[in-house]
């Protein structure tokens, strides 16, 4: 199993890494603990200096608090290059420069003649078509300069890139080389020549080729230093023509520099002026001409604005966290600097602003400006350069450089820019929200694609795109991109999908409210064109007859797959991409709940809620009760759509059971498999307060029992439901579901808290009993109704909860992170999604849940779940302050809600530190495995891998007899054998009949007994959803010998040495007790370790 292996590695690796990190600053690392600040009176009230006053005022007005300012400062320190690193870089650059200056000359050859290169060195260029004119020879570079972020001071960690421009001497090139890829080829050859020369040197570590921002016309040579810190930085060698060697006007976006005749090898009738323009080719050649001038320009700007470098660094971190600075056509660091320079030159930012303000203003600008429509230009004089309109006609996104000739966003697609804009506007939204940890969401949280988008589609077999280029008739574009069919087809496929999915929302709701847009007649032909054969005329309920496409999907989970249907259909129809190439990762988690394919059980939850609503109505209408009902509230996960396996209506097979005579009930039969488990769905029924209620705890309990009897009697009489009253609850069998009604009296917790002390004073003291009662009768129903509301706003909330809880169960954590806490954790993802938007599919929600679990800093932060948006900014501060003040005494996992700001009642009992640590570790590992699996098209998708925990770490494993495990079919890998469990097929009876076996689960009974008997010696773990093993972990503390004490001898045996009697756990007897106590249920007990033998 993959998981188990990696866990162990993780544990082993942890130690050395930590040790390494702590080394440099071991002094300050020592035990920093938060103490409440104590300032002496003198310090607090001394007269302020003007400077201090300014600083304080600035902190108060500019930031939410000075915290954000300091946090940004700290972040900048983390990403900035250290002096030591800079020295390393400088010395390496010197060696490289010296080496490069001694490149020997070589004799002149034809460009296409590669014989002068030794076999090991490849040319970093796709030499298609093969024939080119021109001569080439190696010569020492005319000059070698640093360019880019390093000399500018905006270079950031990690992946430090130092750009080195090597100027190709003028005699190697020819001014006409611009045409037909002659220059790019010579450039590649020159790099290959340099590489050949450098291979012989021992001063260079590794050497690789790469392309600048994925542009294959611009290969670069990557060098790393030879010593052990080789990974610390990379030198990127660019080959450039001498400045001003080519005339910039040659690269006008409407001009052609690649002849069709040369490219296709066929005779064509194009004259030079009618050839198709090659804007992308032009801009990539032009890009080589300008880096030095760009550097000069940026340095000039940077020298005027002191915070420029810091601002750019922050923007770069922001981009990197959103993966916007990666891949072809990305918004890279260079563009970030240029954008800031633009804002400075147009006086949108003043030179005196701080880095914080620079970042804020740039994001604001990005959010509000659409560069796909209104491009911007840094050029001073507009004459003799192409106009913005000309740029717009050739490129999707326009941002013109200071020279006025180059569009720096040439490769960017409109979609990338839209994403950038979207991210910026989301960031601006939560920046001002005082309830969000702005710094963290803005700059610290990574947003990988798989965790950001609801649906991810992958195109495999990119070769197929070649045929789509043909189908979409993109020859001239293909020529412009020099045969890179992926880049060529991408914008077209994106716009196609954009059109298709834009309509999707209207189409999904077609039977209810056809959108007027669909009905417009002039749109019809276009519509039919887009959807092809799937389009048909349909008549809607309101009588309108329109063109529509019907996607099939009966259950919720199938409806979620409609985008997949749309996308595969569109791609097939218009781009000739067969369905097999589209890899959709979004529904891979469905097998986890698949009891009946293809449903995921969301409809079953709905049925349960409907049945409950009916019951609640009937309870309200009951007459003849001595006190009236004031509230009926559900208090069960199934009533908020978050039950992992929602109960389904059952019809019992009476012959399978024994019968209990007095109460007309079914009872499990010995020797038969355990009957199907019927979950009691808890319903709290509040009774009116009245003077008739006694003021005594025992009397109240008896009165409640009387109410249970009476309610049951009335329900039986009026509605013929089978009922079973108990002192604590009333079970009602209705529609094949079991409801457990509990009567509650609102003053009971208060009565439980009151007591009279010896002096006769009435004192109110909180106690466990009262808390438990309040939890059951007040907090749980409230949480249930609140989360029910959340489900109405976000349809996939329930599915995410269920997935999360299934994972927790499978990893044996159900007991530590309870159902309610898990639901709250998931709710926080929806209520406070920053920096994301609320999850729109179960998968992305689950991935974010894992990320939250693995990365949240529980030690220093409370997780605030703002249910119903009731908390204000002041509440947040209050919660945070209260948390900081008494961190030590609070639960390890602190979750605050509007009704519970101080105590975190849902996590008070569990988890403890060790378990939380383990949960975090397992979550991180699961997330890693899942993301790899989902993003890598070659791996088989088996998400259940993360649901199979390793059992090696446990000391003993109790194997259960599957016959007696009632929820066996819910297991992660359900066994092929099934047992008859007394359930008949067919729809459930409406009412009446014998009461079935409710809430009888041998596994949970057994676990409860084990925990009661051996809870202080061992921990017991079990998957509540059909797990057939119970894992046992000895508590190490319990195994050290202790002196004989009457209060501490449970399951221990005595060892006498002299006068001392010590006790140790009697492991043999305990293991046998496991067998005895679980007779009939336990198949075998397997002791794995020998930990107890000292």
């Amino acid at each position: 199993m993959i998981l188990s292996d990696s866990f162990h590695e993780e544990e082993e690796n942890e130690a050395p890494v930590k040790a390494k990190r702590t080394k440099p600053d071991a002094g300050e690392e020592e035990e920093v603990v938060y103490h409440p600040v104590k300032l002496s009176r003198n310090d607090l009230y001394r007269p302020p200096t003007a400077e201090e006053l300014n600083q304080l005022k600035e902190a108060e007005s500019l930031f939410h608090c000075s915290l954000l300012k300091m946090q940004m400062g700290e972040l900048l320190k983390e990403v900035a290059l250290s002096e030591r690193r800079k020295q390393q870089i400088d010395s390496f650059i010197q060696t490289v420069t010296k080496l490069l200056q001694t490149v020997p000359d070589s004799p002149e050859v034809e460009v296409s003649d590669l014989s002068w290169l030794s076999g090991t060195v490849k040319v970093p260029f796709l030499l298609l078509p093969k024939i080119t004119k021109g001569k080439f020879h190696m010569a020492p570079p005319a000059s070698i300069d640093l360019i880019g972020s390093y000399p500018l001071g905006t270079c950031t960690k990690p992946h430090v890139m130092v750009d080195l421009a090597v100027t190709i001497p003028a005699d190697v090139l020819h001014p006409k080389d611009v045409v037909n890829q002659r220059y790019p080829r010579k450039r590649a050859l020159y790099l290959a020549g340099l590489a050949q020369y450098l291979t012989s040197s021992s001063d260079i570590g590794t050497m690789r080729y790469s392309c600048l921002h994925g542009n294959r016309l611009r290969p670069v040579l990557l060098l790393t230093p030879p010593d052990k810190n080789s990974s610390s930085f990379t030198v990127r060698v660019h080959a450039c023509p001498p400045p001003g060697f080519f005339k910039p006007s040659r690269f006008h976006p409407q001009r052609n520099n690649i002849r069709t005749e040369w490219y296709t090898g066929l005779q064509t009738s194009y004259s030079e002026s009618s050839e198709p323009p090659t804007p992308h080719y032009n801009s990539s050649v032009l890009g080589d001409l300008l880096p030095r001038t760009h550097l000069q320009f940026l340095s000039a700007i940077s020298s005027q604005c002191s915070a420029f470098a810091d601002g750019v660094a922050l923007l770069k971190v922001w981009l990197r966290q959103r993966e916007l600075n990666q891949g072809t056509g990305c918004f890279n660091g260079f563009l970030a600097s240029m954008l800031m320079a633009y804002l400075l030159t147009t006086h949108r930012i003043s030179n005196t602003m701080t880095a914080y303000q620079l970042l804020r203003n740039s994001l604001n600008f990005l959010a509000s400006t659409d560069l796909t429509v209104n491009g911007i230009s840094l050029a001073r004089d507009a004459d003799s350069t192409p106009t913005l309109a000309e740029f717009h006609s050739a490129f999707q996104v326009v941002f013109v450089d200071p020279s006025g000739h180059l569009n720096m966003c040439a490769d960017m697609t409109a979609c990338t820019y839209m994403q950038l804009q979207h991210e910026a506007s989301v960031s601006m939204q939560f920046w001002d929200n005082p309830t969000v940890d702005g710094f963290h969401s803005l700059l610290m949280t990574p947003k990988p694609m798989i965790r950001t988008s609801d649906h991810v589609f992958q195109l495999c077999e990119l070769v197929k795109l070649q045929s789509s280029c043909k189908k979409l008739n993109l020859l001239s574009e293909l020529m412009d991109h020099s045969g890179n069919y992926v880049h060529t087809a991408l914008p077209f496929i994106l716009s196609l999908l954009q059109r298709g999915l834009d309509q999707r929302i209207q189409l999904l709701t077609h039977s209810l409210s056809p959108d007027p847009e669909v009905r417009k007649i002039d749109k019809q032909t276009e519509f039919r064109q887009l959807w092809g054969l799937r389009s048909e005329l349909r008549r809607f309920q309101d009588g309108a007859i329109t063109e529509a496409v019907l996607w099939d999907g009966e259950s919720m989970c199938q409806k979620r797959l409609v985008p997949k249907q749309i996308i595969t259909h569109l791609l097939q129809l218009h781009a000739d991409i067969p369905e097999s190439c589209v890899r959709y990762v979004g529904h891979s988690f469905n097998p986890c709940f698949a009891l009946q394919v293809p449903s995921t059980g969301e409809e079953k939850s709905l049925a349960v809620v409907q049945s409950y609503d009916d019951l609640s109505r009937k309870l309200w209408r009951l007459e003849g009760l001595p006190l009236s009902i004031t509230a009926v509230q559900g208090a069960h996960p199934a009533l908020r759509y978050t039950q992992v396996f929602p109960p389904k209506p059952l019809k019992m097979d009476y012959s399978f059971f024994d019968k209990e005579k007095t109460c007309r009930s079914l009872v499990p039969k010995e020797g038969k498999p355990c009957p199907a488990y019927i979950t009691p769905i808890t319903v709290i029924c509040h009774m009116e307060g009245s003077g008739k209620w006694p003021h005594d705890r025992l009397a109240i309990r008896h009165i409640r029992a009387a109410f249970h009897i009476q309610l049951g009697e009335l329900l039986r009489k009026h509605h013929k439901y089978t009922c079973r009253p108990c002192p604590t609850h009333l079970d009602v069998w209705k529609d094949g579901l079991a409801f457990r009604i509990q009567v509650a009296y609102h003053r009971e917790p208060q009565v439980l808290r009151e007591s009279v002390n010896p002096e006769g004073l009435l004192v109110v003291r909180d106690n466990e009993e009262a808390q438990a009662l309040e939890m059951a009768t007040i907090h749980k129903p409230l949480l249930t109704s609140t989360l029910h509301g959340l489900q109405q706003q976000h349809p996939c909330f329930g599915a995410v909860c269920r997935l999360a809880k299934r994972w927790l169960g499978a990893q044996l954590f159900s007991d530590d992170i309870t159902e309610d806490s898990a639901d709250l954790l998931v709710a926080s993802l929806f209520l406070q999604p920053a920096p994301f938007t609320p999850p729109g599919s179960p998968q992305v929600g689950f991935l974010r849940f894992l990320h939250l679990l693995s990365s949240f800093d529980w030690k220093n932060n409370p997780l605030v779940v703002n249910l119903n948006n009731q908390l204000t900014a002041a509440d947040y501060t209050e919660i945070k302050n209260g948390f900081m003040a008494s961190r030590e005494s609070l639960p390890v996992m602190f979750i605050a809600t509007p009704k519970d700001k101080k105590l975190s009642m849902w996590t008070r009992r569990a988890p403890n530190v060790q378990m939380l640590q383990r949960v975090m570790m397992v979550a991180a590992e699961s997330l890693k495995v899942l993301e790899q699996q989902l993003m890598d098209g070659n791996q088989i998708q088996d998400v259940k891998v993360v649901m199979r925990p390793p059992l090696e770490v446990y000391d003993a494993v109790i194997h259960l007899n599957p016959k007696q495990v009632p929820l066996l079919s819910q297991a992660v890998d359900p066994p092929s054998v099934t047992f008859s469990r007394g359930v008949m097929t067919g729809s459930a009876a409406q009412s009446g009949g014998s009461l079935p076996v409710i809430d009888y689960n041998p596994v949970s009974l057994y676990l409860a007994e084990l925990r009661e008997a051996f809870g202080d010696l061992a921990l017991f773990f079990c998957d509540p959803y059909g797990g057939t093993v119970i894992a046992v972990l000895w508590k190490p503390k319990a195994f050290s010998p202790v002196p004989f004490k009457t209060s501490q001898v449970s399951a221990r045996s005595v060892k006498v040495t002299g006068d001392e009697a010590n006790t140790v756990p009697n492991v043999e007897a305990i293991l046998e007790d496991f067998q005895i106590m679980g007779k009939g249920l336990v198949k075998s007990v397997e002791a794995r370790t020998e930990k107890w033998s000292f």
């Binding site: 600040v37 972040l75 024994d658 025992l698 009397a699 009165i703 009661e1012 045996s1053 009697a1061 007790d1073």
Partner: protein, 282 residues
């Protein structure tokens, strides 16, 4: 169980320091492993409880969860007639309080390892127990006396959990009747006491706030606090804010002090986070 012990324990009783005798116990005759019961005569300095007579009561430690009171009674009958057995989850004196509850309303006992108080009819049985050889185990489950565990036990528990509604109603009614009677008696008693007091004070009548006949409000903590708070509020209302120049100056000073304090707090928080390396963005 210490294996070394087993070897040279011939039919000798085993007494460990502390005065406890060790008896071994196994579930049935096939069991390989044994639990140890630690027994001693019940000895407490200050207990006058009648149902644990000092000379006839045996104190038993480490009784496994599958031994109910009946089973323990039978196990120890071999040493003499047993009068009663009491199982508890921890040693200590009995605190029976409140009215006796019916079994439906009694809280269910813990199913862990228990301590027991076995009361014999004769005190001689105690010595018999203490001299029982260590290597002859007591057997819990035998042919004559099967002990149900596991699935059998759970099914039995489930079956027994059914209560006929009428029976339950009866229990409730009788309890409430008792309760009401008790309440009435209490009220009666209080009334009588009050009257008595009146008479006792030689013709002086105590004047209380409520009208005659109503009982005075019971003293409670909450009421005390309420009064205190009321006083505080009254005091505050009379105060003038920012009226004098010095008051205004003080407010400003407080504001700056507040800002400073916050600044210091933030600084410390950052230092803490920095120490934990919380500023690495990737």
């Amino acid at each position: 169980m210490a294996p070394s012990k087993k070897k040279h324990a011939s039919s000798q009783p085993c007494i460990i320091p502390g005065g406890f005798a060790v008896l071994s116990l196994q579930f049935n005759s096939d069991s390989a492993a044994r639990h140890s019961l630690y027994v001693k005569e019940h000895k407490v300095r200050a207990e006058k409880s009648s149902h644990r007579p000092l000379d006839r009561t045996l104190f038993v430690l480490n009784i496994p969860p599958y031994c109910s009171e009946e089973v323990v009674k039978e196990l120890f009958s071999q040493f003499g007639n047993v009068e009663s057995v009491e199982l508890r989850d921890h040693p200590g004196s009995t605190q029976e309080s409140g009215p006796k509850l019916s079994k439906f309303f009694r809280p269910s006992g813990k199913q862990g390892f228990n301590v027991g108080y076995v009361v014999f009819k004769k005190s001689s049985s105690l010595t018999a127990v203490k001299s029982h050889p260590h290597d002859v185990p007591l057997v819990v489950c035998t042919e004559q006396r099967p002990v149900r565990t596991g699935v059998q036990k759970w099914i039995q528990q489930y079956t027994e959990s059914f209560i006929h509604p009428d029976k339950l109603q009866q229990t409730v009614d009788s309890f409430m009747e008792n309760y009401d009677k008790h309440k009435e008696e209490e009220a009666e008693r209080q009334k009588k006491e009050a009257e008595q007091q009146k008479e006792e004070e030689e013709g002086w009548v105590k004047v209380t706030r409520g009208n005659k006949g109503t009982k005075a409000r019971p003293h409670s903590e909450a009421a005390n606090q309420r009064t205190l708070r009321k006083e505080m509020r009254k005091k505050k209302r009379k105060e003038l804010m920012n009226f004098y120049t010095w008051q205004h100056r003080n407010t400003q000073k407080e504001h700056i002090a507040e800002l400073r304090k916050k600044f210091e707090e933030d600084k410390q928080r950052i230092a803490l986070l920095r120490a934990q390396r919380k500023f690495r963005p990737y």
